[in-house]
């Protein structure tokens, strides 16, 4: 890994300012993809802006039929949410299937959505539930958000802050795992 600097903002605006302040800065949340990539010297951000302490980006809220999951919410918190489990168990089941316990406690839904790894679970959920991806600049329908392999509609520096969706009548989640990288 190359040397980098680390920043810990507590608000979305502070995060955006920190990102803009350094060339080649990157947001990091759980770091489940970025940190291994940095370790392999395939990525070399000059600065890391850690999103895990931005209160507005954390937590699960169910407002009538609308669900909002903060982008910095780890998978384990989604998997363990009793409110979500009674409202839409497919979502908690999905979160509980991601990676292993370490990954679930570090990785976040925003990171998963923004990275758009074809092996990831949350992009499938976002598409199936017609979710909305909320950023610090706008709201994007899932159908428009995922544009290709590891590609999204996010602009440079744009930050996913939450995922919202309407509770479906019924939902289920089944996963065909990659036998190597499941």
């Amino acid at each position: 890994m190359y040397a980098t600097s680390y920043h810990r903002p507590s608000s979305v605006s502070e995060a955006a300012a920190l990102l803009a302040a350094t060339d080649e800065a990157k947001y990091v949340s759980g770091g489940m993809t970025l940190i291994p990539t940095m370790k392999q010297r395939l990525a070399a951000p000059a600065a890391l802006v850690d999103l895990r302490h931005v209160a507005d980006m954390k937590g699960i809220r169910i407002d009538g039929s609308r669900v909002r999951i903060g982008a910095a919410t780890p998978h384990a918190e989604v998997a363990a949410s009793s409110a979500l489990r009674s409202a839409c168990p497919a979502v908690t089941v999905l979160a509980g299937l991601i990676g292993d316990p370490h990954v679930r406690h570090m990785g976040t839904i925003g990171g998963s959505i923004a990275n758009n790894d074809p092996a990831a679970d949350y992009p499938a959920l976002a598409l199936a539930l017609a979710a909305t991806i909320v950023t610090d600049r706008r709201e994007i329908a899932a159908d428009d958000f995922f544009t290709g392999l590891f590609e999204t509609a996010l602009e440079a520096g744009e930050l996913v802050t939450a995922i919202t969706f309407d509770l479906p009548e019924k939902a289920g989640y089944a996963k065909v795992r990659n036998p190597a990288s499941r």
Partner: protein
């Protein structure tokens, strides 16, 4: 058998340190002044090196030295060698292309080492490596053996026209062709054996230390055979004469064959230590391991098996192309020849066999022995062919095998091997009973009711272990003898040290070898230490591979124990004023038979060292050494049955049952044997369902991490039903055959036979991924 003797299910002595993280591996070694190495490797599968510019990198922080292949050549460090000479059928010797430890002018696979950077920290070494500018002129690459043999294919080595290393044959072509022409039925099949990455848990590592004052080298390395490493580095690579080179293989975390071979890194780190004046450590990362550890298998074969009207096999004809990668690794030539084609008779009486093997250079990692080494390839070929023949002939696969079993021993096959003992029907019967073979039809019908396709398949394997009689392998081209050595040192208080040339890297020698001593001398295994893996401690040895440590290594210990026991009896007889022939060694005491006179073991040991009262003329001390040269290979055999359920919607295979019935000869520790079988079957299931090394058409390795190379995991595996039908091996004193590779040899054909039975089409290659199975199912309907 005592509670710790032969046959006892003793928990492993070494596990306390392994399970508590206290193992001492090569990467744990730290010596004063030690620095870190990073290897610059070719990103191209085939290219000329035009220039290497290290000027900017030399000036970077922490850099001690950057050395390249031209300097290595100038210092007279030799080429890496293949130690087994094979001659083509036209009499010409195999075409060994030059393998430079650091490529000087041409790179031939992605990962080929080009230069070494030594720096204060690994990070600094990597930073400097990125600043080294290597200018390449890329050349066309070729990946598959069949393509490399074609006219106009890119040429790897000037020595080897058409990339052909040798074109070798065994058996009798004319009688085989005649039997095929006259056959009532001929089964024809093409067999692919997929290329595998060995993936021991501990990646390779080495620490090279040059002591200028003594002009002496020490090499810590992840080796299965440190003495062979010293021999080869001394005799062929000009690193140092043997007395100036100590090789230590401390705790080693698995090898599966891949750590038999001498790789560039050991040689280069020793040389770099002398050049830079600092100890140099290198530890492979996982991607380097995928790129540069010798791979296994990679055969494509055309097979014809002939039958008479009574379904007896009359002939087998095999034509194999074996991909050996970019260079000939240490034992690469022996694997697709004498470790493969000599086993093509399997468990069957086949009057005529002919095999032709062409080995080929390609722009891929070198291919060499991997768990089973040739025998898995032979078994997969033979057992897939027999199963296919049974389907074509309309007879049960068990019956077809039964008709053709060898039943009298010794049995001389047409392909060199002389089987000494076995009972193949016993294992077949035991496996079929354990699998409830006769109840399969009902289980299949029940599964069909759930929408699943259920299949059953068997495999009757034989293999050759305990490699091997030195004179025999010498006559076949081996550059070394394949005996083993041992020394048994009894201390003055009666505790025992056993020095062995076998090397333990997961096999549990510290326990099983101690059990042998406990059985013979009556001392508790806690009083026995097994010393191995250091050329300064153990005089000489040939190491551990080919399931040889029990059959060969322990036989050497038996010989040394015989000498120790004889001397102890002489001393005891003298002390108790009895006749030597009346002394018996029982329960840790030397007794005068038929009397109540007895001396405890430690007292006799003490007497040997005080030397106050020894028989006239006897030397003091109680320490004996022995060399053991086997008289034959050993022949473990068995029957494996796999039962699977296929989900026709997804092509996913669920292994619902796996039965292994093995004949390993006598067993020292059943728990350790079961562990070996479990691990072997796991690797065999890995080969059959999950694993496969893939290069793209340019020679870039697509499976260079665990993200892309699927290793078997616990939840991919069923619980195994094991049993043993042991016929003792008549060829060695303990009657041992060996158990380290059987699981990996017997399991792949059983699985593919089961899957093809389930899906109703025979066209399926390994690994049988859900996608391939699903596609095969679509084409079958």
């Amino acid at each position: 058998m005592g509670i710790e003797g032969i046959g006892a299910r003793v928990t492993r002595k070494e596990d306390k340190r392994f399970l508590t993280g206290k193992g001492r591996y090569t990467d744990d070694m730290v010596v004063p002044g030690m620095k870190y190495a990073y290897f610059i490797r070719s990103p191209h599968a085939h290219a000329r090196i035009l220039s290497i510019d290290t000027a900017a990198a030399q000036a970077m922080p922490g850099v001690i030295g950057i050395l390249d292949g031209k300097q290595l050549l100038a210092d007279g460090i030799g080429n890496l060698i293949c130690g087994w000479m094979i001659h083509s059928k036209d009499g010409s010797p195999m075409k060994m292309g030059a393998w430079r430890p650091l490529a000087a002018d041409t790179v031939r696979y992605v990962g080929d080492a080009v230069a070494i950077v030594v720096a204060d920290t690994l990070g600094e070494a990597r930073d400097a490596a990125e600043a080294v500018v290597v200018e390449y002129q890329p050349l066309d690459a070729v990946i598959e053996a069949v393509d490399a043999l074609k006219d106009g294919a890119p040429q790897l080595h000037p020595e080897a026209a058409n990339n052909l290393i040798f074109d070798w044959q065994i058996g009798d072509a004319s009688s085989t062709d005649k039997a095929i022409a006259e056959a009532a039925h001929v089964t024809t099949i093409e067999i692919h054996n997929n290329r595998l990455a060995p993936n021991p848990m501990e990646p390779r590592a080495t620490l090279g230390i040059y002591d200028g004052a003594e002009d002496h080298f020490t090499c810590y390395t992840t080796s299965q055979n440190p003495h062979v490493a010293r021999l080869v580095m001394s005799a062929f690579y000009n690193v140092a004469p043997e007395n100036k080179l100590r090789v230590i293989a401390p705790d080693v975390g698995g090898g599966f064959g891949s750590k038999i071979f001498i790789y560039p890194e050991e040689v280069v780190c020793l040389w770099a230590s002398k050049k830079t004046g600092v100890p140099v450590k290198w530890t492979s990362d996982r991607t380097e391991a995928f790129l540069t550890d010798a791979h296994g298998r990679d055969h494509v074969s055309q097979v014809k098996m002939a039958f008479d009207a009574d379904n007896r096999i009359t002939a087998l004809k095999v034509d194999t192309d074996a991909n050996l990668g970019a260079y000939m690794s240490l034992f690469s030539s022996s694997v697709p020849t004498y470790l493969y084609a000599t086993l093509l008779s399997g468990q069957y009486a086949i009057p005529a066999i002919h095999a032709n093997v062409r080995t080929v250079y390609t722009n891929t990692a070198p291919v060499d022995a991997y768990r089973g080494a040739g025998r898995p390839e032979a078994t997969f070929l033979l057992e897939r062919t027999v199963e296919t023949a049974a389907r074509e002939l309309g007879v049960s696969p068990a019956e077809l095998r039964r008709i053709n079993f060898i039943r009298e021993f010794p049995h001389q096959t047409p392909v060199i091997m002389n089987y000494d003992a076995g009972d193949y029907e016993a294992s077949l019967n035991a496996a079929m009973a354990a699998a409830d073979w006769n109840g399969f039809a009902a289980r299949k019908a029940e599964a069909a009711g759930r929408g699943k396709k259920r299949g059953i398949g068997m495999s009757c394997y034989i293999e050759a272990c305990g490699i091997a009689p030195s004179a025999a392998v010498g006559s076949l081209g081996a550059g070394v003898g394949l005996w083993e050595s041992a020394e048994v040192r009894v201390n003055a208080v009666g505790t025992v040290e056993v020095l062995t040339g076998s090397h333990s890297h997961g096999q549990g020698h510290e326990t099983t070898f101690a059990q042998l001593v406990a059985e013979r001398l009556g001392v508790p295994i806690d009083n026995v230490n097994i010393v191995h893996g250091d050329t300064d401690k153990v005089q000489m040895g040939m190491g551990t591979y080919g399931s040889r440590s029990g059959a060969v290594g322990m036989s050497a210990i038996v010989k040394a124990l015989d000498k120790v026991e004889a001397k102890a009896k002489k001393i005891a007889a003298h002390l108790m004023e009895a006749d030597e022939s009346d002394i018996v060694l029982e329960n840790g005491e030397l007794k005068v038979a038929g009397t109540d006179k007895a001396l405890p073991w430690f007292q006799v040991a003490l007497a040997a060292y005080t030397a106050h009262n020894l028989p006239s003329g006897m030397e003091p001390g109680l320490k004996e050494g022995a060399f053991y040269d086997p008289s034959n290979f050993t022949f473990p055999a068995g029957c494996y049955i796999a039962e699977v359920e296929i989900d026709p919607d997804t092509g996913t295979t669920d292994i619902v049952q796996f039965v292994a019935a093995d004949d390993f000869g006598n067993i020292i520790n059943p728990m350790i044997v079961e562990g070996q079988v479990h691990g072997g079957i796991a690797q065999g299931i890995g080969q059959a369902l999950l694993e496969g090394v893939h290069y793209d058409e340019n020679g870039q390795l697509l499976t260079a991490s665990f993200m892309d190379y699927a290793m078997p995991r616990a939840d991919d595996l069923p619980s195994f039903k094991l049993s043993h039908q042991n016929t003792p091996c008549p060829g060695n004193p303990l009657g041992i055959k060996g158990c380290g590779e059987a699981g990996a040899i017997g399991s792949p054909p059983a699985l593919i036979n089961a899957i093809t039975d389930a899906i109703g089409t025979n066209a399926l290659t390994m690994p049988a991924t859900p996608q391939k199975v699903w596609k095969a199912l679509q084409s079958a309907h």
